[in-house]
Each structure stands twice: as C-alpha cells, then as structure tokens.
Amino acid sequence: MWRIPLFLIAGIVAGRILRDRKRIVAGTGRLLMISIFVLLFILGVGIGSNKEIIGQIGSLGLTAAGLGIFAIAGSILAGIMIQRFFPPRNEK
C-alpha cells in the first residue's frame, strides 16, 4: 500500500525536473492516457466477466448515486460554512 504514495511522489518529483522538456512531458501524457485505457479496459473485463456484479448492476447504480449525492451535499455544506466563517476579502 505504501508503494502508491511512493510512486506518486516519485512521479511528481520527476515531473518537476522534466517540466521544461516539452516533448518528454507530451510523451508521458500520451503514455498516461494509454495506461488509463488499458487499466479501465481491464477493470471492465473484470466487472463484465463477473456474473455476480453484472446481476446486481442496478443496485450498484443506486449505491453509487447515493454516495455521489452525499459526497456532493457534504462538500457543498462545507462550502457554505467556509463562506460564512471566512468571507472573501481581497481574493484575486
């Protein structure tokens, strides 16, 4: 589990070092897109081949909508409190 923060931080440091090398940055951006495609395809295969998950896709959708609504509502509530207790002053 500790590998994820490690790889993330290593990536951020590498990105900072390489940020002026436009072609390398563009290349890693393309590689990132490809890895997202591959990983989401694999996730799709894992979900699609799992009859148990496919069978309850409707209730999973409801669960997802519930979590989404609560996450958005909680975030907006925090925003209302921030606006009340820290009114914008010279924000620019």
Partner: protein, 200 residues
C-alpha cells in the same frame, strides 16, 4: 480526466468483452495489472509535477488556500460516511474510498478496483462520473442556491479541468484561482487518501 468519452469507451469495451467471455475468465484477476498500476500512478505524478499550474500552488501556499480543498475532502468523506451509516450498502472503507475519488473517476476506480475489489471499483466509477455530470449540469443552480463557492466544492478534483468552464460560468472569473488550486490539490489527495483508507 480529459477524453472522458474515449475513457468510457474502453471501459465499456472491456465490460462487453468480459461479459461475452471473449477474454478467458480469470485473465483480469491476474497480478499483471498491478505493475501497470504503479506505472500509471507514477505517470499521474509526472503529469501533476509537470503541470505549470503547480507553480501557482507552490508560490501561494497560505493556510487559507487549503480551506476549500480541505472542505471538499471533509465534506465528501463525512457525506459518504453518513451514507454508509444510513444504507450500509458498501463497507465503511469502500464508502470512504469512493468519496475520496472527488470526481476523479479514472484514477479512483482503477485504484479501488485493484486494491479492494471489482464491485467497489465499479461503484467508484459510477459515483465519480455521477459527481462530474451533476456538477456540469447543476453548477448554475448550486451557485444560486448555496453561494458561488458551491460549484467548486461540487466539482472536487474535476474543478481544474472538465468542470472549470461551467464553474467560471456560474461562479464568476474570480473563482478560477481557487478552482485550479482546489482541483490540483484534490487530485494529489485522491491516491494518497485511498491508500491511507485501505491501510487500516
């Protein structure tokens, strides 16, 4: 978070291929993908590190700046924890991890799918797409009802790219700075929080 449609096309293609058994069962269960996962996390880091807007964050580190992303983080985790207490449809750690996606559905679903399981990964994908689409559609209403900060809060990690235009449209140009900072900070926080949640 760019190319949302293309990303979803690949996911749906995988879904179809898996469901129609074009690809042998168990193929996706192999550990092969965890190596791609680390490469992926590293590349996510590179894209954040090379982002010219990161300078803006580093230059303007004042406690007040982190108030908004901290509020999104606490609100999302608090909200999904409450959702767990009421409905108990996913475990507490899965609920929190899904909330920690902050709308960043590609990263959160891949990570949660790998670390926790395909079911939680599927929910992470749906919840966080739901969050992005809701923000795209409802940002003007959120701004009107709950104040100009609300679209930034709702957008979460997507406030730095996909939902930025609608946020500027509904909250005003003054919010570009806070939306970018909040979005970038939350994008970094997503993988960190998800791995933290599952380490307990």
């Amino acid at each position: 978070m760019k190319n949302s449609l293309l990303i979803l096309t690949f996911f749906l293609a995988g879904l179809l291929a898996g469901n129609a058994s074009w690809i042998p069962a168990g193929w996706a269960e192999e550990k092969v993908s965890s190596y791609i996962l680390y490469v992926f996390i590293f590349l996510v880091g590179v894209s954040i590190g090379a982002d010219p807007r990161l300078n803006m964050i580093l230059r303007s580190i004042r406690p007040v700046v982190f108030l908004v992303p901290a509020g999104v983080a606490m609100g999302s985790l608090g909200g999904t924890a409450l959702c767990f207490l009421i409905f108990r449809s996913l475990s507490l750690s899965d609920s929190l991890a899904v909330g920690a996606g902050f709308g960043y559905y590609s990263l959160s679903s891949i990570l949660i799918g790998e670390v926790s399981g395909k079911t939680a990964g599927a929910v992470a994908l749906l919840t966080n797409i739901f969050r992005e689409i809701t923000t795209l559609l409802a940002a003007p209403l959120f701004a009107k009802w709950f104040g100009n900060l609300a679209p930034v809060m709702s957008g979460g990690a997507t406030a730095m790219d996909t939902t930025l235009p609608i946020i500027l449209n509904s909250s005003g140009k003054d919010f570009i700075f806070i939306a970018l900072i909040s979005g970038i900070f939350l994008s970094i926080l997503t993988p960190l929080l998800i791995s933290l949640i599952y380490s307990f």
